[in-house]
């Protein structure tokens, strides 16, 4: 049972401004049905370029509906310059706070507003940069870094609450943790780490090498390889396709994969094959 404030419950049970404006000046849509929440925000301006009306449609949990309702109330009467200053924290504050696991609902509100304002102004939407870390919810390393830095997030749970990243299968938890660690340990530790390679950098380089230098050769023989985990200098991979059943796979692993990774990443790296079938996510 979530610990929702009275205000969240009130906005959930009696949401304001539900619907869409047909001839809207701005339209912002975020989220998707696969992610479990989505918001469509529309607004209309008056002759003074102030928001005259705002409407929303939300697919999601109670706090997603309450956050959307709150957002529409907050932006009415504002100019776009004023409205664009609204942050997700403002939305959460308006509702008397949100459980930390539900902060992403207020983030969704802020993002929909940003998109709606961009659509009115005709400015290009912000391009999401970086490499996707959380595949369940499509969150990139740069988005995570930004959130950790700007909102002083200290734990994996906080990142998940904020961005949903890591809230699905959990395969990306280590990677998210290493992004947090970069900031949480302060400049001293980061500086030490950066003199070598951070875990994240190492993983990226391993991925890149696998993709560009190793996979093509394996694919030619009807095989494939998947990176499972990296623990220190040990790289765990899973061989697939014809490689998985090939009696020469151990030789492939040592002579080809390990040699290449040692050359490109670290000289003392060891490659281990994972043969379990327990991939649940």
């Amino acid at each position: 049972m979530w610990d929702y404030t009275e205000k969240v419950k009130e906005h959930f049970l009696n949401p304001r401004n539900v619907g869409t404006i047909e001839d809207a000046d701005g339209v912002g849509e975020v989220g998707s049905i696969a992610c479990g929440d989505a918001l469509k925000l529309t607004f209309k301006l008056d002759e003074n370029k102030k928001i005259k009306d705002a409407r929303f449609q939300t697919f999601g949990c109670a706090s997603a509906i309450a956050s959307s309702s709150a957002l529409t109330e907050m932006i009415k009467g504002l100019t776009l310059d004023e409205a664009e200053k609204i942050t997700n924290e403002d939305i959460a504050d308006y509702l008397g706070g949100l459980p930390k696991e539900k902060i992403h609902c207020s983030v969704m509100g802020m993002e929909a507003l940003e998109k709606a304002i961009s659509s009115y102004r005709g400015t290009p939407e912000k391009i999401v940069e970086g490499i996707e870390v959380c595949h369940c919810f499509g969150v990139t390393d740069i988005e995570i870094e930004k959130a950790v830095k700007e909102h002083n997030l200290k734990t994996l749970d906080e990142v998940t609450g904020y961005l949903k990243a890591g809230g699905g299968c959990g395969n990306c938890h280590d990677e998210i943790q290493s992004i947090i660690d970069k900031f949480i340990d302060g400049p001293k530790k980061s500086a030490v780490k950066l003199s070598g390679m951070t875990t994240l950098q190492k993983i990226r380089l391993i991925e890149e090498t696998l993709e560009k230098e190793i996979k093509p050769a394996l694919l030619k023989d009807g095989g494939d390889i998947e990176l499972v985990d990296v623990d220190g200098t040990t790289v765990f991979v899973r061989l697939q396709g014809s490689c998985a059943t090939c009696s020469r796979s151990k030789i492939t692993l040592k002579n080809h994969v390990e040699a290449k990774l040692r050359e490109k990443v670290v000289h003392n790296l060891v490659v281990e094959e994972v043969v379990d079938e327990a991939r649940i996510c």
Partner: protein, 389 residues
């Protein structure tokens, strides 16, 4: 407001007569059953009576019953014992739709080098038996398949699988937490080696469970210490709860017919009415072969937590297939394994009834839920008004 409680797969009301049976063990009969004196020692006879009651419901021998603290402990004890007693075997077969008690344990074991095979299910939640059969190897230490699924109520052919395993000399365990008391069982006629059950799913209190271990099966204890439970589970016995579980097993046998007639009738009325009057509402699971009390219904294009909270305002207690309420943000692994589309998986509600439910309560839900669904759909950007009812 008296709650309309339809969340009995989560936990059940403790039957008043069971509470009554427990009380003496919290008041005058507080002795330790292991003590030498009569005051303590006499308590042991009540434990043995409870053991017979549990055995009788399962069609087992009393000495095949070990009392534990819960279903999860029973599951863990069974799997770990199978691995300890067969150190050369490295493989476990389970299903994609197990309860976290098995699922998380196997995920952890896989990180420790055990090979885990998870058997997939079809869109009705039925096991792929060919897949299971093909994966039985000389290296397989144990196969663990739940008797009935907690989310959809789908019943699995555990007796058939146990037979298969037995032919190959492989141990078979079943998590029967949801099935015990609802499905008539006679373990003496099956090849099931181990079975887990939990008290609080059958009107006993929380914190008590049992593990059936077939006579002659090698077993190493999970809890180590004193000699309680003939050395198979250390720790001073939870006497009052053990007595309650024994009483609950009698109670379950007495009410099993009611479960399969009255409760089933209420469940069918609820499910049929809701899926008829509400468009784009679909019942999940193997509808012809499932627990009599369980109904999992997906209401498309809306989200489960929102439905639950609106029902909560009216005192209706159910649970959501969507994991929004349970920490993870992904829809339930059971619905995903079944390939339920995202449009439906997020908006799934599980109703699980008991003999304490009344027809008035079911009518109340039938009256109150459709407007809630309609309301939430009117807010959803994915709902097309032309589908409305």
């Amino acid at each position: 407001m008296k709650p309309v409680y339809v969340d009995n797969n989560a936990t059940t009301k403790v039957a008043p007569e069971i509470v009554e049976a427990m009380l003496p063990f919290y008041t005058e009969m507080y002795g330790n059953p292991s003590s030498m004196h009569t005051f303590g020692g006499q308590v042991a006879s009540h434990i043995e009576k409870a053991r017979k009651q549990v055995a009788s419901l399962l069609g087992a021998l009393p000495e095949e019953i070990i009392f534990t603290s819960c279903g999860t402990e029973s599951d863990g004890a069974a799997i770990r014992s199978a691995l300890h007693t067969q150190p050369t075997k490295n493989h476990i077969i389970t299903t994609m739709v197990e309860h976290p008690a098995i699922k998380t344990l196997c995920e952890t074991l896989s990180k420790h080098g055990f090979r885990i095979t998870t058997v997939p299910v079809d869109n009705r939640g039925r096991l792929d038996m060919d897949f299971l059969t093909k994966n039985l190897t000389d290296d397989t230490a144990i196969v663990s398949v739940m008797w009935a699924n907690n989310e959809t109520g789908t019943i699995f052919p555990v007796e058939e699988i146990a037979e298969l395993c037995s032919q190959k000399g492989i141990l078979f365990h079943t998590d029967a937490v949801q099935a015990v008391g609802k499905i008539d069982m006679d373990l003496s006629k099956t090849k099931i080696d181990m079975l887990s059950l939990s008290g609080h799913k059958l009107h006993a209190p929380k914190g008590i469970g049992a593990l059936y271990v077939r006579k002659g099966t090698k077993f190493t204890p999970f809890m180590i210490g004193g000699h309680q439970e003939k050395g198979k589970r250390a720790g001073t016995e939870n006497v009052a709860s053990i007595v309650a579980l024994g009483r609950a097993c009698d109670f379950a046998r007495e009410s099993m017919e009611k479960e399969n007639t009255y409760v089933k009738m209420l469940r069918d009325k609820l499910e049929t009415t809701l899926t008829t009057i509400i468009p784009k509402a679909v019942a999940n699971g193997d509808l012809d072969n499932r627990l009599p009390n369980t109904s999992s219904i997906s209401f498309e294009f809306i989200e489960g937590e929102a439905i639950l909270l609106m029902m909560n305002e009216l005192g209706i207690c159910a649970s959501s297939g969507s994991a929004c309420t349970s920490g993870s943000l992904e829809p339930s692994h059971v619905l995903r394994a079944m390939g339920v589309p995202y449009t439906a998986a997020h908006g799934t509600i599980r109703f699980s009834l008991s003999i304490y439910n009344t027809e008035e309560e079911i009518d109340f839900i039938i009256e109150k839920l459709p407007p809630i669904i309609k309301r939430l759909r009117s807010i959803s950007p994915y709902w097309d008004k032309s589908w409305d009812f």
